[in-house]
């Protein structure tokens, strides 16, 4: 068993252990810590010089079917490595920040197993080097999410929300499946292995590339909440229990973006070029339209839900630019956004637990006076989310914007991509407006009489630790982006080359 196989299956083994009576919280934390250790070990041993595209490290492959060639195959390239680090960090924070067993009303086993299943699904999808398991693992999260929101979700509408997210993601996955099978058929249909697909990928006719890329863009787009397929996401994140919101918004949603970069773009470069303008229009919808919608939110949970959807627009901008620097920015932003949104949801969960509501008018402000640590950490998270220098988000967004302007060195005039970059920059202003406003309203306002008398506890150590873990990760990458970028460069340069054709 390689490290990668360990990392994918450790959460599943933990689920089995919990099912057979092992204490849920302890088992989940042990599995998450083991995964973090394994990911650390892999990072240390990961060689930086990976030359050709499709080359993966720590590769393992178990043949399941000879014809068509199906393998339970895992391995890491630079992008996978960064996303695996993201996943193990967020998973550990999510199970750590989950309520203690006595405070969960209902099935404790189900609560912790669901988080682990979602984590395992994300890890499997990021590590798979076989198209089939790339798709299949992602779906592992579907039913746990459905159950968790329906049982443990907050709010009156939680059942409705659970249905919405499940149907949306189910249908999105089916569209994606159709696209992936079409891709498979175009490459001969004999093998699911990424390496085999890359080997024949260049020969797909242009017409087929265009059609398949569109299907994949819609399929992946639904999963990433690309405008106008976003409407499932904000209510789902708002009403999901904290660990699910953290894992889903932080990690699982990155699957669609990863798929575009790892599968759609290298195999369908002409399709990507053909639909670039469409993607630019849609991502501006994410940034500008949904940005304004975010400003209008009155509740912290839906505000965070919309802000998470909005920030996907920047990642799409990096993907649309298709050059080395833009792609670097996109992947780094996937990491930064994943950590910062998970942090925000964890802290929002802590606020809800103390105040019983997340309605910003009812909260009344001044929470920082009662719970200074909560206020401080939330401030960090909010600044990271806006993209202040010093946080990974800043480094990533700057690279995305540079990426959108880089082609101007050759064309010497503003094209669609540059205009999209210019308009997207306003998104930073929008982010600052809603985030700072929310921060002021909840934490820095005058203390209401009711709250002044009420005993509002500050964050406990168990709540502080996971938040600190995430903040440290954000700042480390923010000050030294090279920590992650060096792993990305070989893979992304190869993809950018194939796009230039």
């Amino acid at each position: 068993m390689t490290l990668v196989e360990f990392i994918v299956f450790a959460p599943l083994l933990a689920v089995l252990a919990i099912l057979f009576g092992s204490p849920a919280r302890a088992t989940a934390i042990v599995a998450a810590v083991a995964n973090l250790a394994a990911a650390g070990l892999m990072t240390l041993r990961f060689p930086v010089e990976v030359e050709s595209k499709g080359q993966v490290i720590f590769a393992s492959s178990r043949n399941l079917l000879a014809s068509p060639n199906l393998n339970l195959a895992f391995g890491l390239d630079g992008i996978s490595l960064v996303l695996v680090i993201l996943t193990v960090l967020v998973t550990l924070a999510a199970v750590w920040a989950s309520p203690a067993e006595g405070r969960i009303k209902g099935n404790v086993k189900l609560y912790y197993s669901s988080s682990l299943l979602i984590a395992s699904g994300a890890l499997g999808a990021f590590c798979a080097t076989d198209l089939f398991f790339f798709y299949a693992f992602h779906e592992l999260a579907l039913i746990p999410t459905f159950l968790m929101i329906g049982i443990f979700g907050s709010g009156e509408n939680r059942k409705r929300t659970a249905w919405t997210i499940t149907i949306f993601l189910g249908v999105g996955s089916l569209i994606l499946l159709a696209g992936l099978i079409a891709l498979l058929v175009e490459t001969g249909g004999k093998s699911f292995a990424f390496a085999d697909l890359y080997a024949v990928g260049d020969k797909i006719p242009a017409d087929a590339q265009k059609n398949i890329y569109l299907i994949l863009l819609i399929g992946f787009g639904i999963l990433v909440s690309l405008f106008p397929f976003h409407s499932w996401a904000p209510p789902a994140y708002a009403q999901a229990p904290t660990p699910v919101a953290m894992l889903h918004a932080g990690v699982l949603k990155k699957f669609g973006l990863y798929g575009l970069i790892r599968v759609a773009m290298p195999l369908l470069p002409e399709g990507a070029a053909h639909w670039q303008t469409l993607l630019l229009v849609l991502l501006l919808g994410n940034i500008l339209i949904l940005g304004l919608v975010t400003i209008a939110q009155r509740r912290l949970d839906t505000l965070l839900g919309y802000s998470s959807v909005m920030h996907m627009g920047y990642v799409f901008l990096g993907i649309a630019s298709g050059n080395t620097i833009g792609l670097h920015g996109a992947v780094l932003l996937m990491f930064a956004h994943g950590i910062s949104i998970a942090l925000l949801f964890a802290l929002a969960g802590a606020v809800r637990e103390r105040m019983g509501t997340l309605d910003m008018d009812e909260l009344g402000g001044g929470l920082a006076k009662k719970a200074p640590a909560l206020g401080l950490l939330f401030g960090f998270a909010a600044f990271a989310s806006i993209g202040l220098p010093g946080f990974a988000n800043f480094a990533a967004e700057v690279m995305v914007f540079f990426g959108s302007f880089q082609p101007i060195l050759e064309t010497k005039k503003l094209g669609a991509l540059q205009w999209a970059g210019i308009l997207s920059l306003w998104g930073v202003v929008i982010s600052a407006v809603y985030m700072l406003r929310a921060y002021r309203k909840i934490f820095k306002g005058p203390l209401t009489d009711k709250d002044a008398k009420a005993g509002i506890a500050d964050l406990t150590l168990t709540e502080r630790a996971p938040a600190l873990l995430l903040i440290v990760a954000l700042m480390a990458v923010g000050f030294v982006p090279g920590l992650l970028l060096k792993y990305l460069t070989p893979t992304l340069e190869a993809i950018a080359m194939s796009l230039k054709g």
Partner: protein, 494 residues
């Protein structure tokens, strides 16, 4: 041992069960079911010991009978589903006793139970013959052997109006479809002068046969077999019969009977698809029926509130996916490509696992909660976590969630359809599968989201016998393994 010995053993086993029941004066007739299961387990083992017929064996018998890997696979499906149906019947015996007990007080309370354990064995023998039939005569005879046994089993609870109604409906529509089948066979014989599928295929291929007449024969056969497998627009009987029949028999109908219907359909469609003159229209007819079945089956399942009825519509929906595989049958098979017969066989194998798992739970809930409404499943996640987990996995697999057996079935079907360029069928199948997420998860939501209401709130956990527990665990493990490694099933098909 030659393959046909298996049918002889199974048929004799049925006779032995009847004789034991008649002469042995058993105090507890469950031993009949145990005897039946034991016998069938032995036969299932013998299935792997079958020696293929010698290449030079020119016995005329082999024109009636095929012992290909595919036939053996379908025999395996028949035996396995019968074993599980008998296991279910043991749990279900209370209700059978209640609705068949003789009027006089002195009679043994299990007086009506014996045949309930013997009949599935006869049906199994019929299904096994059907899996091997390669001649219009043997197809017809084995099909009738199965159908007539089912007439009795569906109406078995004679003091229950629902069961009787189901029996009458099944009898009338079944007889009608048999009429269509015979008429179609007569035409086929008339135009080709042979009852043998190989010769019929050769005659159709030669082009000497009028395509119109061949298509007429095909459409008659399609009507009859469409009835057997539950294809739209011949699906009307399915919900009522499934709901009214005793639950183990419903499970048997939906797995064994459907599988047998599909192997006959596969054999007959291969004959027509081999002929250049009619292949196009035949494939088109399959595509139309498949599209209708996908839409009607999946969309009408959405509003159902009775779980057994829901499973009936789901059975129609799955027939739609299977027919899609037939409609998209590739003309020329390339290396590394799965044939549509393989895909259908795989799908049915997966379907057997997940459907029987669902019915095992349905039967238990019916016995202990006295209801088949989805309402009755509320809170099952708390009161009987084991059964709820089993049903969760069955529903996930039926819905086609990856890493379960059901997903591979759907995956292969989608692949065939996309390979053949049938994009509108792919669209309908995607809509159907999307609807499937809703109606299968509806049951999951009831089990886990809701708290039980009324009498169920106070009800204790449902007791699960060791046999049922073993069956459930085995099915769960097989579903998950087949979800990772389809070779488990594909390897058997050959």
């Amino acid at each position: 041992m030659p393959a046909y010995a298996l049918e002889i053993i199974v048929f004799s086993l049925g006779l032995v069960l009847l004789l034991v029941d008649a002469f042995a004066k058993l105090e507890d007739k469950r031993s009949l079911a145990w005897l039946g299961m034991l016998g069938l387990v032995v036969v299932f083992g013998l299935l792997f010991k079958v020696e293929p017929r010698a290449a030079d064996d020119a016995n005329v018998f082999w024109r009636f009978y095929s012992d290909s890997r595919m036939s053996l696979f379908f025999k395996g499906i028949a035996i396995l589903s019968t074993i599980l149906v008998l296991a279910m019947a043991i749990d279900y015996r209370g209700l059978i006793e209640k609705f068949t007990a003789p009027a006089e007080k002195k009679a043994h309370p299990q007086a009506g139970l014996g045949e309930f354990f013997a009949l599935p064995v006869f049906a199994c023998a019929g299904l096994m013959c059907m899996a091997s039939a390669t001649n219009l005569v043997s197809i017809f005879v084995s099909l009738e052997a199965v159908t007539i046994t089912f007439y009795v089993m569906v109406a078995y609870m004679r003091r229950n109006v629902g069961s009787l109604e189901a029996g009458v409906k099944y009898l009338i529509l079944g007889a009608l479809s048999t009429g269509f089948l015979v008429y179609g066979f007569a035409w086929l014989y008339g135009i080709t002068g042979s009852m043998d599928l190989a010769e019929i295929g050769a005659a159709l291929k030669s082009g000497d046969v009028s395509p119109t007449a061949a298509l007429f024969a095909f459409s008659l056969i399609l009507v009859a077999l469409g009835f057997k497998v539950g294809a739209v627009p011949f699906q009307m009987w399915i919900p009522d019969v499934y709901q009214g029949a005793p639950t183990p028999i419903t499970a048997f109908l939906s797995v064994g009977s459907k599988a047998a219907g599909f192997i006959v359909l596969l054999r007959l469609s291969a004959v027509f698809l081999g002929s250049e003159a009619v292949a196009g229209q035949v494939a088109m007819a399959f595509a139309v029926v498949a599209g209708l079945t996908l839409i009607v089956g999946n969309l009408t399942a959405i509003p159902q509130s009775n779980f057994k009825r829901l499973l009936a519509y789901s059975s129609i929906a799955h027939a739609g996916f299977l027919l899609t595989a037939l409609a998209a049958a590739p003309r020329k098979l390339e290396a590394g490509q799965l044939s549509s017969a393989t895909v259908v066989a795989f799908y049915l194998g997966a379907y057997l696992l997940m459907t029987l798992l669902a019915f095992l739970v349905v039967g238990l809930v019916r016995v202990h909660r006295d209801s088949e409404e989805i309402e009755a499943y509320r809170g099952l996640g708390k009161s009987s976590p084991f059964l709820a987990l089993a049903l969760l996995i069955a529903m996930a697999s039926l819905a086609g969630v990856p890493l379960t057996a059901g997903f591979f079935g759907k995956f292969f079907v989608f692949q065939l359809a996309i390979q053949g360029g049938h994009w509108w069928l792919v669209t309908l199948a995607a809509i159907g599968a999307g609807a499937g997420f809703y109606y299968y998860l509806k049951v999951v939501a009831a089990m886990y989201w809701d708290d039980p209401t009324g009498a169920a709130a106070k009800a204790a956990a449902i007791p699960v016998s060791a046999l049922t527990r073993a069956a459930v665990v085995t099915l769960i493990v097989l579903i998950v393994i087949a979800g990772f490694a389809p070779r488990m099933i594909l390897g058997l098909i050959g």
